[in-house]
Amino acid sequence: MTRTAALRRAALLAVPVAFFALFFAYPVAAITGRGLKEDGEWRPGTAFEVLTDPGVGQVLWFTLWQAAASTALTLALALPGAYVFARLDFPGKRVLHAVVTVPFVLPTVVTGAAFLGLTGRGGLLDDLWGVRLDTGVWAILLAHVFFNYAVVVRTVGGLWAQLDPRQEEAARVLGAGRFAAFRRVTLPALGPSVAAAGLMVYLFTFTSFGVIQILGGPRYATLEVEIYRQTAQLLDLPTAAVLTLLQLATVGVLLGVHAWIVRRRESSLALVDAAHTARPPRGAGERALLGGTLAVIALLILLPLGVLVERSLSGPDGYGFAHYRALGSRSGGTFAVAPWEAVGNSLSYAAVATLIALAVGGLAAAALTRRAGRFTRGFDALLMLPLGTSAVTVGFGFLIALDEPPLDLRSSWILVPLAQALVGVPFVVRVMLPVLRAVDDRLRQAAAVLGASPWRAWREVDLPLVRRALLVSAGFAFAVSLGEFGATVFIARADRPTLPVAVARLLGRAGELNYGQAMALSTILMVTCALTLVLLESLRPARHTELVA
């Protein structure tokens, strides 16, 4: 590697490193340090006590296996979906692609309610067939699929749509069976992005909180739930700090395994314009696959969402728009939030968070594109850590770390999109990186030989190929922010309530009208999310030329 290339990489990495250090490493170190020290002395005894507690062992074991089971189930159900969305054309595809992401943005209390309305006692399935998954492990696993379906469909499908189908066709012509062609040609090409999707689903379910509490009932606890209890309820910082370190260590091992699996598997691929790869289903097999995927989506995603819409429309005097009208007519008091105001707040926070995540994640991905030394690989893994770190730790870390001028951001609005971007960045990196690495380096070299500056080569070679990945990752960052992921629950906020905050307020108060309006606002949140994603995805490149021969 030449010196200029190294310098260029260092410059590209400067912003992501600073962002990560300031808004993740420093706050987390501050809060765990505070927990582990007493009167300035380190206390290793606490760590020993906590780690040898059999209860902690049980919690860790449950956390690990439920995340593994959830990830396996999600991959099994969503990978066929990724194929269907990448390769098949069918009516309503665009809208459905946006709709499967909607669960992502809904507050867990709301989706928990929808799930219980469907699978719980006296729910729809109970009425119809006596099927009941009131609370317990199956309810947790299915809810995790519901939330994370889009992660797999979008990450894997995004790349799949750009793989040149002629390669698999060539293998078939050369005599390979359909399955062999898939296994030898397509699967290796998809490997890194499947691993990336699996990693993100695992991290998300590893730190699962609301789903576990609502659907698991008080019997089940993940490390995340335990850390929340120790920090937010009991203020037992020493125990919380040890648990946080345990969580970080576990995530560290996972990231190591992931890096080991993915290493050497990434290779340059022939990428083509996604617009050319999809076609209507052919033959009984493909039609069955399409039908099966649509059935899974209908049962697991559309039905629970439908329950919410139904509840938002059902009032004391039958179905109607009474709750929506009531939302519009609310006046006076700091409790009331006009819905358009909440939509505006949500969208502006999400826009800022998306920009930050794209800037930070995009720069990191650009710097990490070319295979590099240990430091760069390590940084790649570090960027994933926020996804596997408890939100309450980060939130309370912000409180005690960012409390001195010029960085007293505690009550500043910017802290909210920053916290959301922290969760968005891993998505941007994981979506962009497999695609960027798949771009044949010889194309860049050719551009350089022809006299293009690095910037021009990036614009002319990389950008057209990664535009789709850029939009996919923007969609994720946006959804993460709209759904108020990460530490935002633990940040004190001045009165600019977003949609999820307004929903939570309404749900916290007795009265049928409040409940109905919470459901109506949730429906508005769903529609806002779907519409924005459809719009975002229609920002396709205008020219439909073939990009790589």
Partner: protein
Amino acid sequence: MKRSLIVVPVLGLLAVACGGGEAGSGGDEVTLVTHDSFAVSDEVLDRFTEETGYTVRVLRGGDAGIVVNQAVLSQGNPQGDVLFGVDNTLLSRTLDEDVFAPHEAEGLAAVPEEYRLDGSEHRVTPVDTGDICVNYDRAWFEDRGLAPPGTFEDLADPAYRDLLVVQNAATSSPGLGFLLATVAAYGQDGWQDYWQRLADNGVEVVDGWEQAYNERFSGAGDGDRPLVVSYASSPPAGVVYGGEERPEQAPTGVAPDTCFRQIEFAGLLAGAANEEGGRALLDFLLSQEFQEDMPLQMFVNPVREDAALPEEFTRYGEVVDEPLTVDAELIAAHREEWIDEWTSLVVR
């Protein structure tokens, strides 16, 4: 070029954020740190600004537990000037950690002695009270010709088997309140037996109030349990947010002998940037105007004896004459132990 294009907006945002943060602690603005349930009428808040010249900035930080813990962690360098929302179950933690500076609020004379838990030190000012009680679905019991339960003993009676849903005492404040009520009723060594009987009688534990009240309670939604732990003010709230026509009687009722009294306090945060504004705000929280606005905004009872209750409360609410309480010090000393014991008894 690409770099500078992206870096500039990021730095710009940071600059705006820092600038905004500094402007936030200006002289004529007073910042109230509180939980998500805080609410006040616009008119009442405007009146405060007219009278004192201060505008109020409301900073919400999640539930009461989170807000209080954050205040403890940022002791001496607080996020705002006044904190509202410490209740008697969390009070000791803030007093032990010197979170508050003393202020004897104007109007304290109108507050009964029993609510002034900080005695003559005045580090905290009582603002409102609320009762956590078992609520029942009137229609459900009428349809079955069964009298609704009134006491703890009733709840353990096989006649009321599988009817009650409660919240997790480890994560929910009504859940904890109900546990404390049984501690007050049966004593530190007796509540365990009582909960064993409750468990044998089919009590169900869910995680939070929203789930218990909105999803499981038959008096509010499509739930199947006619008994739930909620607030004494839930029946009036249900009527106010229940539809156009006001019924004769609230569709839900309260079992008055099962109530745990919560007292909510406010205090001037030690190290407040706007101490004068904070004092004015504390006085305002105890003013008759705010106290009379509170019931229909937050569904709590005023602490001032001379504050009039709205009609919705007097007509549909229940007056709890003899609520149960546990000493704040005792709660602080045993909270974790009781919760752990309760968890292994009822949940696992």
